[in-house]
Structures are given as C-alpha cells and as structure tokens.
C-alpha cells in the first residue's frame, strides 16, 4: 500500500511553526500535524518565546490537520504557564471542527477561544 505522489505532497508536509510579531500580539501560526513530532518542535518554539513573557500570545490552530494527545499536552502546558502569570495572556484559537472535538473529548473546551 505504497502512497502515491499526491499523498506524499499533501500529507508529508513538515509541521511548521511561524511566529509573527504584530503591534498587539505575538501570533504562533501552526501548520500540519500536531503529533509527537510536531509537539516536540512546538515545545522548543514556545519555550523560547514564552521566556520573553510577551503580553499577548495567540496560538492559531486553523491549519492544524491532526491533533493528538501530545499536542494537547503542549498546548495545556503553555496555557497553564500563562494562567500563572498576571501580565500575560495566551489565546488558543482557530480549531477546526475535528480538532475542536479532541478538546471536547479531553474536557478542555474551556481553553479554546471560539
């Protein structure tokens, strides 16, 4: 059941973390599968970013195709980090219906900005 070229093109795109600074917030735009591999990459990016204690961070999930429990763990860790600090706000937003269902299954809809 070898994948065809089209499958490779669509599914094998590496996970990407794009960090964009605007006047109002730091946007963390995620693309691809937020799985074990992706969450390890995001952990590194968020560790570096959050150490600078930005006032407002927006994690954008609209281009996340697959979210696994590893990805959930990374997002919850970032959320908890922000909750512990009065001077910073972290927003997790843009979940597709399928990704939203994972938050729902984990009882974590409350951390999504909808």
């Amino acid at each position: 059941m070898a994948p065809g070229p089209d499958d490779d093109e669509v599914v094998d795109r590496p996970f990407e973390v794009e960090i964009v600074q605007t006047a109002r917030a730091v946007h963390v735009n995620l693309r691809g599968d937020l799985d074990d591999v992706g969450s390890a990459q995001l952990d590194v990016a968020l560790d570096a970013l959050l150490r600078s204690e930005p006032a407002r961070t927006v994690i954008e999930l609209k281009d996340v195709a697959t979210l696994t429990s590893s990805g959930i763990r990374t997002l919850v860790r970032a959320w908890n980090w922000a909750v512990d600090r009065d001077e910073t706000t972290l927003v997790i937003t843009g979940a597709s219906p399928s990704v939203r269902r994972i938050f729902e299954a984990c009882g974590l809809l409350g951390i999504l900005w909808e």
């Binding site: 089209d6 599968d33 799985d35 696994t68 429990s69 590893s70 959930i72 763990r73 219906p97 984990c106």
Partner: protein, 146 residues
C-alpha cells in the same frame, strides 16, 4: 479479533504491522486514511479512527514496549455501520500512572467510541480494542483530502 460481529458483503479488513517507532505514526495515519477513503468512510469518522489509532499505537510503543522497537499490530474492520479497531503489542502495560497526556490517549478513544474500549492481556502482550461509528456525516475521506 475485536468482536464476534459476522462479516457481511462489503465489509473490509485492514491489517498493518508497524515497526513500533513513533516516526511510523504519520505514515500509518496516511495509509489508514487512504483505505478508509476508498471505502467511503466520511472525513469526520476517518479523523476519529486515525486519532484513536495514533493514541493506541503510541501507548503500545511507550507503555507496552517502553520505547523499544518491536512490532505493533493494527487491525481495522470496516463494517457497514461501524469500525472495529484493535491494536496489539508485545509488552505489558506495567506503568499504573502514565504521564498526564498519555493518560488522555485512552480517554480520547473512549470519548469517540460507540462501544466499549477494552484492554486485554494476551499470550504475547497487550491488546486494546474499540468500536467507532462509520458515519458522522460529511464527504468521504478520499474526496475531502483532494
């Protein structure tokens, strides 16, 4: 393997043996999604199957094999009304308190399942089986990925 539901015309069976490394999860997701699409399983239902298999195989690798590279057997029965999933490893889940996010794996499976999610000790290891609905509405997985 997962239950005693007799096969009907149009039923299908997908069996994969993975090497048992986390790097194999993405190719597995791709293969399973392609097969489900070919059988007109909807995108939402296919997403659920792929996610649950991802969690169960991860558990098998990390708790069954403790990170060692060993085969993990994945079995998907595509039936008219539901999808039977079974993941078997060659280890024993001795860790009673997995990391928080790993504990979510079985919770996710149970939340998405339409039947019981069961963990069995077998002669060679541990086997987890569950049942997911085949239809959640929307276009097929094959159509939706193009």
């Amino acid at each position: 393997m997962s239950d005693a539901t007799p096969p009907e015309p149009g039923d299908a069976h997908l069996a994969l043996t993975l090497v048992g490394a986390l790097e194999g999860l993405a190719p597995m997701r791709r293969q399973v999604r392609a097969v489900l699409g070919a059988f007109d399983v909807g995108i939402d239902a296919a997403d659920d199957v792929v996610l649950v298999l991802n969690e169960l195989v991860t558990n098998a690798i990390e708790h069954g094999h403790r990170g060692a590279v060993a085969p993990v057997n994945v079995d998907v029965e595509i039936r008219s009304e539901d999808l039977g999933l079974t993941v078997g490893d060659h280890g024993t889940w001795l860790d009673p308190a997995p990391q928080e996010h790993r504990g979510r794996g079985l919770d996710i499976a149970r939340a998405l399942a339409s039947g019981p999610t069961e963990v069995h000790r077998t002669a060679v290891g541990t086997e987890v089986s569950t049942v997911l609905p085949r239809h959640r509405g929307g276009p097929s997985a094959e159509a939706g990925r193009r």
